[in-house]
Every structure is written in structure tokens, then in C-alpha cells.
């Protein structure tokens, strides 16, 4: 019993550290390292707390109801970048500044290789991948614009107030759903994991259900409907990326956005089509040699850049 009580205590202390680290200064980090090193059980306990913390980051929370007894307190509506504390300062530093001139609209953005979850007032949450910029509105949590990048939307359905988002000049209206949207501003790809969405189109709205996807190379261009295993929707979250007949240049651009990998393709490689699923660890040293192996290329490093070349010697 003593052993198990002690273990329980170590978990609680690991949690205490984890909470403190959110706004720890240099001295606190150094004290944390001392604690981790003091006993392998400390490191093991913290490891489990950190793994659990990651799961919380992707979890859906019940819709927030107004707090009882808080009515007279001024309701603060998402002062994203204005919140006090060092944690907020770090967030601000990681996020590309995106201040709107006036009004209630605001932008949230991630840099290459960064991820972020945004919770809206209505209970909707948005998982943003790297290189993504979203425009939101304090006054209306049921609208969003994906200016570029890729995000998974977990929309809390409200028939009276449908969630409406815009990407690549196209309107997507949720019918109660989890869906992924990727856009570079003109090209658009929508895939539905759960529920359904309605995508605006010239000939009238197109309805997509679970396992449906729709992609379009440019604004106003033809849209192609396809199927996807619902498990694979938003696969970037688990490092599983599917590509269908895309240029390798587009594949490496995606890796840059998601992981910050800077990859140059030699010769004819950029134009080579690629179809398949790539599983990524997030560690360039592992991912890029494997990608090279997958496409039959050789790789070398040049400063922070990776250069892939065709393995077959080209005829001169």
C-alpha cells in the first residue's frame, strides 16, 4: 500500500509540474530537470502525464454553458493575444501576428510545422495544421474562413444557426459534422469524417456525407467527388498523409507546411505524380530518407535543407 500511495503521489507531483511548466521561467525549467533526473519513477510518471495531455488537446469538450453566478462579471470573449501571463506571450510569439484593423473579426494562424486547437464559443473546435490561417468573428462563432492551409472542424450542430465556412471562394455549410478542409486560397479539398456538409457550387449545393470528399484545383474549376475512409480524414493529425495523383512538388509543399521540412527536388522530380499514403514521424532525419526511399530518390543535406535527386543517373 505504501508503494501505491507513493506512486499516486508521484503522478500528482508530475501533474503539478506539468501545470507549472505552462508559464515556467528558466529557473523553473531547471528545477523541473532536477526533479526528472532525481528518480526514474519521476520521468516515467511525467511521461504518462504528457501523453495524456496530448489526448486532451484533441478531445472534444462538451459545449460550454453560461456559468451560474457569473452574470455580473464582465464576460471576456476570447482575448486570444491579450490574455496575461507568459503562456500567452509564448502563444503570441508562435503565432503570426494577424491583427485586424477594426471590428469583431480576427485571425488565427499557425506557422510551418506548428499546430493549434481553437475552441469557439459555441462548442465547435478547430484543429489547425501548420501554415494555416483562419479568419473568425468574435461576434459570430458560427462563421469561419480558411484563407490557407488545412484544418479539421468539429462542429456542434445547431439547425437554427448552421456553421458556415468559406474556403477558396466556396461556401461550406455544416449539417452536424466533423470534416477536414484544405485550401491554398484557390484550390480546395473537403473530406467528411462524420455527419454531412453542403458545399456551394454553381449548379446548386453538393451534399457530402461521411466518407465523401470533393476536390477542385482552382476557383471556378471542375470539382471531383471521391471516397475516402472516414478514418483517414484529417490524417495529418496522426502523421498519415494520403495523396492521389499529385505532383511531388505539392507533396513536399505539404510536408513543409505540416512539419517545416525544407525539401528541394532536383531534375524532373517536382513534376512526377505521386499516389499513396505516407506515414510520418515528425522527425526530419527519419521522414526524409524514407520519403526518398519511397520515390526511389537519393537524398543529401545542405544546411537546413534536404535535396532529393533521381536515383537513376540521367543520360547526358
Amino acid at each position: 500500500m505504501i508503494v501505491s500511495a507513493e506512486q499516486a503521489d508521484i503522478i500528482d507531483r508530475a501533474i503539478g509540474w506539468h501545470l507549472r511548466l505552462a508559464d515556467a521561467d528558466e529557473a523553473a525549467w531547471s528545477a523541473f530537470v532536477d526533479w526528472l533526473e532525481a528518480d526514474p519513477a519521476h520521468a516515467a510518471a511525467y511521461d504518462r502525464v504528457a501523453a495524456g495531455d496530448r489526448l486532451i488537446g484533441g478531445a472534444r469538450f462538451p459545449a460550454a454553458r453560461p456559468l451560474p453566478g457569473n452574470d455580473d462579471a464582465p464576460r471576456r470573449r476570447w482575448p486570444w493575444l491579450a490574455a496575461g501571463g507568459a503562456a500567452a506571450a509564448v502563444v503570441a510569439a508562435l503565432t503570426i501576428p494577424a491583427l485586424t484593423p477594426a471590428g469583431s473579426a480576427y485571425a488565427v494562424a499557425t506557422g510551418a510545422g506548428e499546430r493549434r486547437v481553437v475552441a469557439l464559443d459555441d462548442g465547435t473546435s478547430i484543429e489547425m495544421s501548420g501554415g494555416t490561417r483562419l479568419r473568425l468573428d468574435h461576434a459570430d462563432p458560427r462563421v469561419a474562413t480558411l484563407e490557407r492551409g488545412e484544418a479539421v472542424f468539429h462542429v456542434r450542430h445547431d439547425a437554427a444557426h448552421p456553421f458556415v465556412m468559406t474556403a477558396g471562394g466556396t461556401t461550406i455549410r455544416d449539417l452536424g459534422t466533423v470534416f477536414n478542409v484544405a485550401s491554398d486560397g484557390t484550390a480546395l479539398s473537403v473530406a467528411v469524417a462524420e455527419g454531412a456538409v453542403e458545399v456551394g457550387a454553381a449548379g446548386g449545393p453538393v451534399r457530402l456525407g461521411a466518407g465523401d470528399m470533393l476536390s477542385r484545383a482552382r476557383e471556378g474549376g471542375p470539382a471531383v467527388k471521391g471516397r475516402i475512409a472516414p478514418d483517414l480524414v484529417g490524417g495529418w493529425r496522426s502523421g498519415r498523409l494520403s495523396f492521389h495523383d499529385q505532383r511531388l512538388a505539392a507533396v513536399t509543399a505539404t510536408l513543409d507546411r505540416l512539419y517545416g521540412y525544407r525539401i528541394a527536388l532536383d531534375g524532373a522530380l517536382p513534376e512526377r505524380p505521386f499516389t499513396g499514403m505516407i506515414r510520418l514521424s515528425g522527425t526530419a532525419d527519419r521522414d526524409i530518407p524514407h520519403l526518398a526511399g519511397l520515390i526511389g530518390a537519393t537524398w543529401r543535406r545542405d544546411q537546413g535543407r534536404w535535396i532529393l535527386s533521381d536515383a537513376q543517373p540521367s543520360p547526358r
Binding site: D25, E26, V33, I278, D285
Partner: protein, 185 residues
């Protein structure tokens, strides 16, 4: 060129960063590898000067260590082929692993759904919105130490739920159950 300063801070903090990564990853080789990874990506870590660069780098290193620990756990069983090509999504070999990950997710969401509302709100604000404990205290109208207690209990509930789930899957390994940890307090 916002990171000339960050590079200097990295070099100054390198010994302590290495200790942090070694403690988290369990061996020095992996820690050196992770440090190298950070060094290569240092240009992309921030677009702007960082307010507390040392603390910032520790946070990045701790996140990187967690990424690697989770990735290593997932690779564990399957080993070699973590990057592969699939002709059809139905043939994905790690369906079992995906199920496990989804199961863990469900456990966490279940634990959150069972939480008293204030606790869930505090956790959401802390974890998803990255708000400071002080901001959460203001929002909830309670003290900062009250927020800390709520968060402490919230993380504990999630830990215990995941622990129970892992044990259910692994079969009864321990003699001593910890059944009452899940009690809603």
C-alpha cells in the same frame, strides 16, 4: 533573421536542454538527435523575437520529447515499416493501433464529460485556449489556487481513466486495484 538571438540562447542553454531531453527520452543518443533536430529547425520556431527565449526553447524541447515518446510508443509493436504506401485505405495494417488510439481518445472524452462543469471549463481554457491560470481564475470568479486544484484533479482523473483502460487491455497485472480513483470528487 529574427532568430540570431535564439541561436545564441540555444547554444548557451544547450547543456540544460540536453539534460531535459535525456531525462525525457531515457538516453543520450536520442537526446542529441532531438537537439540536432531543434537546431536545424530553429529558423522556423518563431517569426518574431521571443519574450523569454530560454523558457521558449525548453517548451519546444519538452514538446519535441513528448512527440518522440508518443511516436516511439506507436512504433513499438510494428517496428520497421512506419512509412509505407497503401493501394487502398482498407488495407491499413495498423487498424489495431488506430483503434487503440481512438479508444484512448474516447476514454479522455468520457473523463471530461464526467467532470463537473467548472473543472471541464478550467481544463478547456488551460489546455485548448492556452489561457493563464490567472485568466481562468478571473473568468470563473475563483482564486488562482482554486484553479490549480481544479486542473490538478482534472489531469488526475484523465490519468486514472487512461491507466484503467491500459490495464483492462493488458489484463489484470496488478494485485492491488485502484478502483476508487475514478470516483467523481
Amino acid at each position: 533573421m529574427a532568430d540570431g538571438g535564439l541561436r545564441a540562447v540555444f547554444l548557451a542553454q544547450r547543456p540544460m536542454l540536453l539534460r531535459l531531453l535525456t531525462a525525457r527520452l531515457g538516453n543520450r543518443d536520442d537526446a542529441e538527435d532531438a537537439l540536432q533536430d531543434m537546431w536545424l529547425r530553429i529558423d522556423q520556431l518563431s517569426d518574431k523575437p521571443v519574450a523569454q527565449p530560454a523558457a521558449f526553447l525548453y517548451r519546444v524541447a519538452a514538446n519535441l520529447a513528448t512527440d518522440r515518446r508518443i511516436a516511439a510508443g506507436r512504433r513499438g509493436a510494428r517496428d520497421a515499416v512506419w512509412l509505407d504506401i497503401q493501394s487502398a485505405p482498407e488495407e491499413i495494417p495498423d487498424a489495431e493501433r488506430t483503434m487503440l488510439a481512438r479508444g484512448e481518445w474516447r476514454e479522455v472524452e468520457g473523463a471530461i464529460a464526467d467532470m463537473p462543469e467548472r473543472m471541464a471549463t478550467a481544463l478547456r481554457m488551460f489546455r485548448l485556449e492556452e489561457r493563464s491560470q490567472r485568466a481562468i481564475a478571473e473568468h470563473l470568479g475563483i482564486s488562482v489556487s482554486g484553479v490549480e486544484k481544479l486542473l490538478q484533479r482534472a489531469y488526475r482523473k484523465i490519468h486514472d481513466r487512461l491507466d484503467g483502460y491500459a490495464e483492462d487491455r493488458a489484463g489484470p497485472r496488478r494485485q492491488q486495484g485502484e478502483g476508487d480513483n475514478d470516483r467523481v470528487g
